[in-house]
Subunit: 248 residues, 6 copies
Amino acid sequence: MLLHLSTWPEVEAYLQQSRGIILPIGSTEQHGPIGLIGTDAICAEAIARGVGEATQGMVGPTINVGMALHHTAFPGTISLRPSTLIQVIRDYLTCLAKAGFSKFYFINGHGGNIATLKAAFSETYAHLEDLQISNAEQVQCQLANWFMCSSVYKLAQELYGDEEGSHATPSEVAITQYVYPQAIKQASLSPKVPSGHRIYSATDFRNHYPDGRMGSNPGLAKPEHGKQFYDLAVKELSNGYLEFLNPE
Amino acid sequence: MLLHLSTWPEVEAYLQQSRGIILPIGSTEQHGPIGLIGTDAICAEAIARGVGEATQGMVGPTINVGMALHHTAFPGTISLRPSTLIQVIRDYLTCLAKAGFSKFYFINGHGGNIATLKAAFSETYAHLEDLQISNAEQVQCQLANWFMCSSVYKLAQELYGDEEGSHATPSEVAITQYVYPQAIKQASLSPKVPSGHRIYSATDFRNHYPDGRMGSNPGLAKPEHGKQFYDLAVKELSNGYLEFLNPE
Amino acid sequence: MLLHLSTWPEVEAYLQQSRGIILPIGSTEQHGPIGLIGTDAICAEAIARGVGEATQGMVGPTINVGMALHHTAFPGTISLRPSTLIQVIRDYLTCLAKAGFSKFYFINGHGGNIATLKAAFSETYAHLEDLQISNAEQVQCQLANWFMCSSVYKLAQELYGDEEGSHATPSEVAITQYVYPQAIKQASLSPKVPSGHRIYSATDFRNHYPDGRMGSNPGLAKPEHGKQFYDLAVKELSNGYLEFLNPE
Amino acid sequence: MLLHLSTWPEVEAYLQQSRGIILPIGSTEQHGPIGLIGTDAICAEAIARGVGEATQGMVGPTINVGMALHHTAFPGTISLRPSTLIQVIRDYLTCLAKAGFSKFYFINGHGGNIATLKAAFSETYAHLEDLQISNAEQVQCQLANWFMCSSVYKLAQELYGDEEGSHATPSEVAITQYVYPQAIKQASLSPKVPSGHRIYSATDFRNHYPDGRMGSNPGLAKPEHGKQFYDLAVKELSNGYLEFLNPE
Amino acid sequence: MLLHLSTWPEVEAYLQQSRGIILPIGSTEQHGPIGLIGTDAICAEAIARGVGEATQGMVGPTINVGMALHHTAFPGTISLRPSTLIQVIRDYLTCLAKAGFSKFYFINGHGGNIATLKAAFSETYAHLEDLQISNAEQVQCQLANWFMCSSVYKLAQELYGDEEGSHATPSEVAITQYVYPQAIKQASLSPKVPSGHRIYSATDFRNHYPDGRMGSNPGLAKPEHGKQFYDLAVKELSNGYLEFLNPE
Amino acid sequence: MLLHLSTWPEVEAYLQQSRGIILPIGSTEQHGPIGLIGTDAICAEAIARGVGEATQGMVGPTINVGMALHHTAFPGTISLRPSTLIQVIRDYLTCLAKAGFSKFYFINGHGGNIATLKAAFSETYAHLEDLQISNAEQVQCQLANWFMCSSVYKLAQELYGDEEGSHATPSEVAITQYVYPQAIKQASLSPKVPSGHRIYSATDFRNHYPDGRMGSNPGLAKPEHGKQFYDLAVKELSNGYLEFLNPE
């Protein structure tokens, strides 16, 4: 059930049966020479919708732009500052919690969002208690990073080994190929790709990762891999969502 | 050209020919008994992509959640506070302006966004000048509300007369029916629908507009109307975008 | 009744009969070669006081500085950022609403304030509901731009036609001449004055409007015109205020 | 020279001779049973204009609303939060410093503003250095509290002794009577007036100072005293301003 | 009783007998050629602990970094902006007030903190009332600057006369020598040390006070003086704290 | 070398040889029935000073209060909101980076700080690039959590097995016993201690962890264990700091 394709009376009815909502969050950032700028949002949205179908869960609007300040030296990247993203999350959850939602399951497609999201959850719990919203104590956020699913990780190792890398990875590129076969890109990729340098400023990032890849070979990606990753992630996160709603 | 389906080298190449980008912005808010919660985002996104195709313009990620505080007494609505939305816009435009974009064309689907967007543009111009970004003086934002296109307005009058209303209108519902025929909703709509009360707090809004409609009869909407509205809006806003890029 | 010339027991007594307050807001910004920097505040204050007298309404302190970032390339201009002005309005209204005021009628002298004021009203309604102030639901803000009164517009067309322009207009200059005859300025005005360029950054504004006027010929202004404009605006806005207090 | 009655070319000319500006700041707050709510703004504005005349200094728009949170349990009080007032001052000074002003002389009518103003000055100096404005190093703010002038203090002791008190004082009321003789108020004042309790929350303040006075007997005020206080303050602060502009 | 060396059940027990807490606040800033960068925090912490012992008062964690923007042109200085420090104080006091503390006694070692702390207290009182915390009305903050104790001032005059100065003073250096005898520094100090220039921007400060001292001769400091100052400050502020807890 | 026991000329000299600084950060929060409220700050500070001695690194002032909102239902806890802590870190690093520091090594004693610190680093990198500080590109932050050192983890497993738990752990309590033997606490600890519940709001936390422990048995802690943990952490983090300064 997609929130944006529902009416408010349908949401009201949904809330009679469930307090949960799935919120996809991605990023709009460079993903190397052949990865799409929307990769993280595309993956998170697709998987979240799959999870929603599998679990009858409500899926909220995709947060397309996240925390990607370190990628901003590449054109096309858009990032919120962490302090902005915290306010955005606070606003989203305050609206939804007032309406009766209390279980927020974030399906996240971007490692760079993790820290700020966790900070935002803390800020929001305290804010809701300060507002004395009736269900403030029940509000729970859980962060589910599809790329950290054990089944996904295992398959990526099998398919790509070390060439999976850590940004603009073949696994995420494969999912975008599966979702948008019309947008599969080609480019010659230099076989030597840097890795292991930590992330600091945007300028420093581009100096160390000149084509935007971090240790990855996205040229290995195939749409049919994408379907496999998608299926694994949907299955694992659907279980995760159901356990979140109904612990043990 | 869709930013999220592009790579950063493609964006770099695009910037050699154009400094413009089209940014769809909608809202996630109640649209009465049969209007979709995502109506404003759906319309803005569809039309923006149409404009992008017609003009070879780059289309950025859709801002799905806008300023809809007055709708928050209905479940399913999500709103940013104006002060948050100003920071969001500032962050988007700062990233894009640093990369070389300078012409920002916002295709907007929600009247409630207008004031905050204009405030955000002012805040951003000053911020970019303070940052001493090289192209700060060239940065220009334009707000294009598809529902205020004269061709759209004329057709809505012809088709619906006074029953167009001002929120959850048949014209916008028709576009969502055209875009998402699988999500056409049915419900019996009371023929008497309030109108004319100004917008204040969320509670006051729901007291005066108990089913969420403002003077509208969305039951008149048809997908084929939606196509007509879509075509008109794309045409008129495509011209608008090209004039914005190349005044007279 | 002027708030600043009242005592708190007088305010307490006033609140027994009325929940309304008139708040003048202007700007401190360049108004071309002969327009006063305080033009917008002077006009708003004078008209607001006239309305207060005509309606027995309380008139609050004039907000002298508004949102005029686009004029800041001219010396003497002072502007708040929109995000600051939103906080200012929120603070004003929170204090006044806690005291029992609930009908806020802003008499505005500056087009550049409109967007930010509307954003601020939305932010404030939600804030007051979050604070759970007893009268939060009753709080209503209305924006009354004197220069958009139909009677004013009609007279300006009669007197000045196209030379009214859109900034540093003869109509607003005339009111300042009426209010401050000792401060009537003279300067030779070039007959060619640019118009039609949209407003973006401060630098861009000054590049396009080098003497600060936007299509106007303030040299046509006369103090006796000012009295006419003043009388029309007071009359029309007095009616507006009374209707706001007592709808239908 | 009053900024609001000047044109921008006049400001430009002024800046050729002086970098100084006088900024009156008051408050909008209860001043006991017969003191005007605008007392602090009225006094600051009148004295600032007197100083401007005596010194040929430019006088900016009066900041009518300051930091008066502790008075907000009395109706009619309007206060900014300190964090808001800091942003307001930052915005004012940033605009003026960019235009070339560098000597900011605040004539203040309210003790409650002092701390926040000083904090705001510190915040602003650092902000201007961060902006790399050319004259950032030269920017200087000075806070001149008229009620702390030694000549004023001496006269208040002579005229009122202990009955001067510390809020809603006869000296400030006298100035408002001199400036606005039409707004002299009468009320029976209880001879016992509390004093000595420190200032904490608004509720606590009203509990301890039920009619708003702090140890004062404003019934002693006379318009002719007001003229004396006014003359003394203008003289002493004119000297202060000139010394500030040209340190020995 | 030191908060950081207590357990939460001990705090719970303490709150049965007292609502007071002592909060030391210093600064991390240059103190001239031989003064320690931590001088203000060291003095405030040592004295606060002495007061805690003398009065059985709870002593909170030392706020090591305060408002020292004007010292930031010297390496080693760390400062919060006033707007940040206000939020920090608000957060501290909100947590402690919710737990039941209501009497906050700040022992302060740095003149530059005074204005911002007072602003923060005002902001916090209003915030706590807005939160409707049960003890909001009882919350009281008092600022106790050890260096403004009359006994301290008298001794400094006796020992150092005019050479006490106003920053990097021998009295504060003496206390640090008493507390940290292992960190007594030596350097040749120029006998001529500037004084009397007001504090503006960081660059301006360093221009006028090139070695960081303001009219002081810290070479006169001795550890045994430090013990005297410490004893006097502890005694005077212990009385101050007890009076604060139990007014007359 | 401790910053607070240094003079600014010593810092200036230090910067000739090193751009690194070690910043201890802890928390002020409940640590169960026998754990000290200052546990996280005590451990971080002690270890940071050990690392400073071992590496000749400069050690900055301890950040005593971090992000502990989830512990605020226990008295004695003080927490910053994440949005406040981000500003604090931004202010610290901006001051230090302007002075020439560029390698910031945070020795952290509290898991709850991790997310907000990482968010703050991102915010700060971008802020410094916006300020155009000369060394902005070189600025690097590294987060070193002593409790995640592999040597520490191994010893904790050996000594305590599952009774290490995840909050109020015997390992951290042991370090505080080693550092403050005078503050070793005793209390009867229920053998059954909950674990495994995720962290949400403060109220929820206390409901699930009624005495504050998360799966731990701090009764196993001994000061001599504390020395072992301290030695291991200092050794491992000293290596970490040196590698951070001089990669490979």
